[in-house]
């Protein structure tokens, strides 16, 4: 089983290396390598899952020592347990679907082989995070996920926007990683204090068993680790890269939003939840961050005109839910939502990709009536939409209501914000769906049909989006660290009513196009402006970079030019030259001048000698 896990991990890397080394000019071979590796990885993941089930899901790991220095080792290995087994299936399963879908979507791209090398690297990095046995290894793959996203978002590097978006994604997530690495060092110190300098999750968990108290230091360590999550899982205030990342090819967006990258943060929280349970302050901060992100992103999604951007903000908002769930004390609820969300968000993105592929625009106001033209895309998109809105009996209903129930058990503010977000989600997704698929088209389109490699992943994902609520995943993922969640009839019915209300409202406004009173637009104009400007956060960061960072750098440069070089270095040189010049003048070559200086010197010496006595 562990051998299989090693293979699952390294097959995509091997594919990426083979593509780079040999098949850059043979497009078909490149995609075959990438898809083949992914398929085999998926099959192996299934095998791992069943073998693990046969062992009653008892965790197993194997590792090699990468670097060893006296009583300190950097390990690299694979860890197979419940959490990683299910994530393996998600990453290779959904990822594999996206790989196949890409063969059609990227068909005529000049960077086709490069694209598949990037995808394989991305899959490898994510699988590495999933299988990590320790903090060091997870950080390694954390960085690799960052660089893969950089390469893929910037796939069309000749577009300035794409190149900038890739850079922004990499640097923004790296800001979080500064905290993450410091957090790892703090955890290492904590472990040293508890008896063993280790970063291994299993050992750490047993060191920090029940009743462990790390005090303030532990809280700080948890928050520092959480910084990594802020970056990768795009939580407020480091969420700004995610909408821009839409510059990448659509299947990449699907991959980032469903199976990899943003899932990494929540997975890290679940994986290291044993640490967080010891610090209620850290959990509170996490819950607040998730809550703010969920609500803020849902609001911003209301005013987007780009089909991919609406979905991007909805991902942000759903990630907020997951992080909030972890903060409220249940990592399993967060993971549950992560899994169902992976299905329907991949479905929605691939559906959006199919639309874009067919009519070559991303602006929703240029679309309309596509349900008839692209039936498979349209109906599966509807399933994804309803699942995301949390309508019974689709998967989103179960996972989201678990989080809302948990919130209602904790504090009414979290519950209210969560419910409001649910309403907004239903509304903006309704706006998107009705505008694109059912409303009267504002422009004539002649979309070409849907290829089989596009239809099949959509149908499969639609099935899982609809059905995965019945697999009992929430209960299955539950560990003894997680808070118990009791089913609450009122919470469930209220959220269902709220979601249906959101859909109904959007149906009225965007499908039937009920004329709204003019005054409404005037009242909401300022709010709209704030939302369209993304709460001015991007402007604030731009100012920070342009004004503060750039000016500081300029100041350093000036200091270098004038103080270090001109004043200290050239100054020394000038003083040397000047003193040489002065001394040179003493050498006049005139005997009587030397005699004068000589006798003056003698006089001074004698005088000093006499006076000193």
């Amino acid at each position: 089983m562990l051998t299989l896990a090693w293979l699952v991990l390294f097959l995509p890397l091997a594919a990426a290396a083979a593509i780079l080394a040999g098949t850059l000019r043979r497009n078909f071979l490149s995609s075959a390598l990438a898809c083949g590796a992914m398929t085999v990885s998926f099959l192996f993941s299934c095998a791992i899952f069943f073998q693990l089930a046969g062992r009653n899901f008892e965790a197993a790991e194997s590792h090699v020592v990468l670097v060893s220095i006296r009583n300190f080792e950097l390990e690299f290995g694979v860890l197979v347990d419940r959490l990683s087994a299910i994530m393996l299936l998600i990453v290779t399963g959904i990822g594999g679907g996206i790989f196949f879908y890409s063969t059609e979507y990227m068909k005529d791209d000049p960077g086709y082989s490069r694209y598949f090398a990037g995808l394989s690297l991305f899959a490898f990095s994510m699988l590495g995070i999933v299988l990590s046995t320790n903090f060091f290894q997870i950080f390694v793959f954390w960085e690799l996920v960052g660089v893969s996203s950089y390469l893929l978002i910037g796939h069309w590097y000749q577009k300035n926007e794409a190149a900038d978006a890739g850079k922004k994604a990499f640097i923004t997530t790296r800001i979080g990683d500064v905290g993450f690495l410091i957090g790892i060092l703090m955890v290492w110190s904590l472990a040293g204090g508890a008896g063993k300098e280790t970063l291994n999750f299993g050992v750490l968990e047993s060191l920090m068993g029940d009743g462990f108290s790390g005090g303030m230091y532990l809280t700080l360590a948890c928050l520092a680790v959480f910084c990594g999550v802020l970056g990768k899982s795009a939580q407020f205030p480091l969420h700004v890269w995610l909408p821009d990342a839409m510059e990448g090819p659509t299947p990449v967006s699907a991959l980032i939003h469903a199976a990899t990258m943003v899932a990494a943060g929540v997975y890290l929280l679940a994986r290291t939840f044993f640490l967080f349970v010891h610090s209620s302050q850290a959990l509170f901060v996490i819950a607040c961050t998730g809550c703010v992100t969920a609500l803020m992103a849902a609001l911003m999604a209301l005013v987007q005109d780009d089909i991919k951007k609406v979905l991007a903000y909805s991902t942000l908002s759903q990630l907020g839910y997951m992080v909030m769930a972890v903060g409220l004390g249940s990592a399993s609820a967060g993971m549950y939502h992560l899994v169902t969300h992976a299905f329907f968000k991949a479905l929605l993105f691939l559906g959006a990709g199919s639309v874009i592929h067919a009519i070559h625009t991303q602006n929703i106001w240029e679309m309309g009536g596509l349900l008839r033209r692209l039936p498979v895309t349209g109906w599966t998109f509807l399933i994804g939409f309803l699942a995301l809105a949390g309508i019974f009996p689709l998967s989103g209903f179960f996972s989201k209501d678990e989080i809302l129930t948990l919130a209602s058990m904790r504090h009414p503010v979290f519950y209210l914000a969560g419910t409001l977000t649910a309403f907004l989600t239903a509304f903006y997704m309704g706006r998107l769906f009705f505008t694109v698929f059912t409303a009267e088209p504002r422009r004539e389109h002649h979309p070409h049909g849907e290829a089989a490699v596009i239809r099949i992943p959509l149908l499969l994902l639609a099935f899982f989006s609809a059905a995965s609520g019945f697999f009992g995943l929430g209960h299955w993922l539950h560990t003894h660290h997680d808070a118990e969640i009791e089913w609450n009839f009122w919470v469930v019915s209220i959220s269902l009513i709220v979601s249906l209300g959101g859909i109904a409202a959007s149906y009225l406004v965007y499908n039937l196009r009920i004329p709204l009173p003019e005054s409404l637009g005037v009242v909401f104009a300022p709010a709209r402006k704030v939302l369209e400007n993304k709460f001015y956060l991007d402007d604030f960061y731009d100012a920070l970079v342009q004004k503060v960072q750039q000016n500081f750098a300029g100041l350093c440069d000036l200091f270098e030019r004038w103080v270090v070089v001109e004043w200290m270095v050239n100054g020394t040189a000038r003083v040397t030259a000047w003193s040489g010049d002065m001394l040179r003048r003493l050498q006049t070559g005139r005997i009587h001048f030397y005699a004068l200086v000589f006798s003056a010197g003698i006089t001074a010496l004698v005088g000093w000698w006499v006076l000193a006595r």
Partner: protein, 510 residues
């Protein structure tokens, strides 16, 4: 056998001297072969070095001036083994890159091979006299190499560089002579001196004033702030291969000699003074990083970047524990290879476009020169500490090492990695991505094996060391361990932590 490392390039230099001036093809080939021979030998030595036995291996000794106790004593320990590998990789790639030199080819390669030979000499010498001699010898060919074959501001740059390094060397010489006198052994033999100091250490008061001579003297060549200003302009003016050797290897002589002489002789002095070095290293990391952010010339960007990265090496040294020292030596290797790759790539573009200014290059070059672009991006990724390249492992080790001793500095260092990624990714974007605004008709990608070889060798080395770090770490560890033992002994028996400059060395360390 070990002296062949020095002899191959020297023989090469002699052969080049004897070759007719109008036959540059032969001259180039002779130079490349002699550097290649040394590289092969270095590889052989490194991989036959027994890392479990440790200590000094492949020793040889020829007495020279007996009255002063000078002998030609050569050998390798774990640290210098890794260093000769670094020098072998960089000098061979540099020789290949130098194929683009068109003027006075003969003189160029004579000086180049002399430079290569002297640096090998520094790394294999186990006698302080020869160590210093080779060190000074390396400065001499550097002066004409930059002054004659350089570009833009070359006279100022070469003068400045030579004066700085010489001044540092003189400062260090005072320290060395003081140590020689104080030991009273009448011997310059490094091993003998170290063995002697292990039994009978130098007095603390002596160490307190002599240590700064060595550490700040050699600190100049390690571009310790504020004596770094020779470095960016020196690299900018130098021809590609000289920038490669200089940034890649020569600069590493600073930390190498600090390790060898300053730390090896005076562990008490190290404990007193290295916190100061660590603090200055922080200035290196951040200040040079921010300076790099506003540079327009590619070589200045990488030049300041190398000043910034030297900060990590010095921080690692200042930890005085195994993780920190091992990380520092591994970073000397990794950064050396990385810097060489960066300078050679910039040289490739400059040779054809005659500009290194980011704004004049105009962007979009990735489509024009895809191979060079990929190599540059990989080099940048190595530099910003991406896992998979050995730079990452080195920096991680330094952070783990410094976390227990200087947690604040470790945090600043981690932040510095972010600064690095900002200016490097910006550079990549501005030069290689985006639409092409200047057409650069004559710009051709590297296609032949010979043209691609230097980059493939250097980046390949970083990847191999990054995927299998224990290959080098195991060797480095065997060299670092004696130093750590000496420091630990000093800590336990001599200075209590309260008498260090700052009370930073707590009990929790090492």
């Amino acid at each position: 056998m070990i002296s062949l490392l020095v002899l191959f390039p020297l023989i090469g230099a002699a052969a080049v001297l004897l070759t007719a001036r109008d036959n540059p093809a032969v001259i180039r080939r002779v130079a490349a072969w002699s550097c290649g021979a040394s590289l092969l030998l270095a590889l052989l030595l490194v991989f036959s070095f027994d890392r479990f036995a440790g200590g000094v291996q492949f020793e040889m000794r020829r007495p020279w001036v007996e009255s002063l106790g000078i002998s030609f004593h050569a050998g390798l320990d774990g640290i210098s083994a890794v260093m000769i590998l670094l020098h072998g990789l960089v000098s061979f790639s540099g020789a290949l890159v130098s194929y683009s030199i068109k003027e006075r080819v003969k003189e160029y390669f004579v000086f180049y091979l002399l430079l290569v030979a002297s640096i090998y000499g520094v790394f294999i010498s186990l006698d302080v006299f020869f160590l210093y001699l080779f060190y000074e010898m390396a400065v001499i060919p550097m002066y004409p190499l930059i002054g004659i074959w350089g570009s833009k501001n070359k006279e100022y740059a070469t003068m400045k560089l030579t004066l700085f390094i010489t001044a540092g060397a003189v400062l260090a010489l005072v320290g060395i002579i003081a140590v020689y006198q104080m030991a009273g052994l009448k011997s310059f033999d490094l091993i003998e001196l170290q063995r002697h100091f292990a039994v009978q250490p130098l007095p603390q008061r002596f160490q307190k004033w002599a240590f700064p001579f060595l550490v700040f003297g050699f600190g100049v060549i390690a571009s310790l702030w504020p004596t770094h200003s020779w470095s960016p302009i020196g690299y900018a003016a130098a021809p590609s291969a000289v920038s490669m050797i200089h940034a890649g290897v020569l600069k590493k002589l600073g930390p190498y000699l600090i390790l060898r002489l300053a730390l090896g002789f005076m562990p008490d002095g190290a404990r007193i003074w290295l916190p100061v070095v660590a603090a200055l290293a922080m200035v290196n990391i951040l200040y040079a990083g921010y300076c790099a952010m506003v540079q327009k010339d590619l070589k200045f960007i990488i030049g300041f970047s190398s000043v910034s990265h030297m900060g990590y090496i010095l921080l690692g040294l200042a930890c005085l524990n195994e993780a920190g020292l091992t990380g520092a030596v591994l970073l000397m290797f990794s950064h050396g290879v990385m810097a060489a790759s960066a300078f050679s790539l910039i040289g490739f573009v400059y040779d054809q476009t005659h500009t290194r200014r980011v704004d004049e290059l105009g962007g979009g070059l990735a489509r024009k020169v895809p191979f060079i672009a990929v190599c540059f991006i990989m080099t940048a990724m190595a530099s910003l500490g991406l896992p998979g390249f050995s730079n990452f492992i080195s920096e991680i080790l330094i952070f783990f090492g410094s976390w227990k001793v200087f947690p604040l500095f470790a945090a600043i260092g981690i932040f510095g990695v972010l600064v690095t990624s900002i200016y490097l990714l910006r550079t990549v974007k501005q030069v290689f991505y985006g639409p092409q605004t200047v057409s650069w008709e004559g710009l051709k990608d590297a296609v032949t094996v010979r043209a691609r070889a230097p980059y493939l060798i250097l980046i390949g080395a970083l990847l191999v060391a990054g995927f299998f770090p224990q290959l080098l770490v195991g060797r480095i560890r065997s060299g670092v361990e004696p130093l750590v033992t000496a420091v630990r002994w000093s800590e336990e028996t001599r200075l209590s932590s309260s008498s260090t400059v700052w009370k930073v060395y707590g009990d929790g360390g090492r």
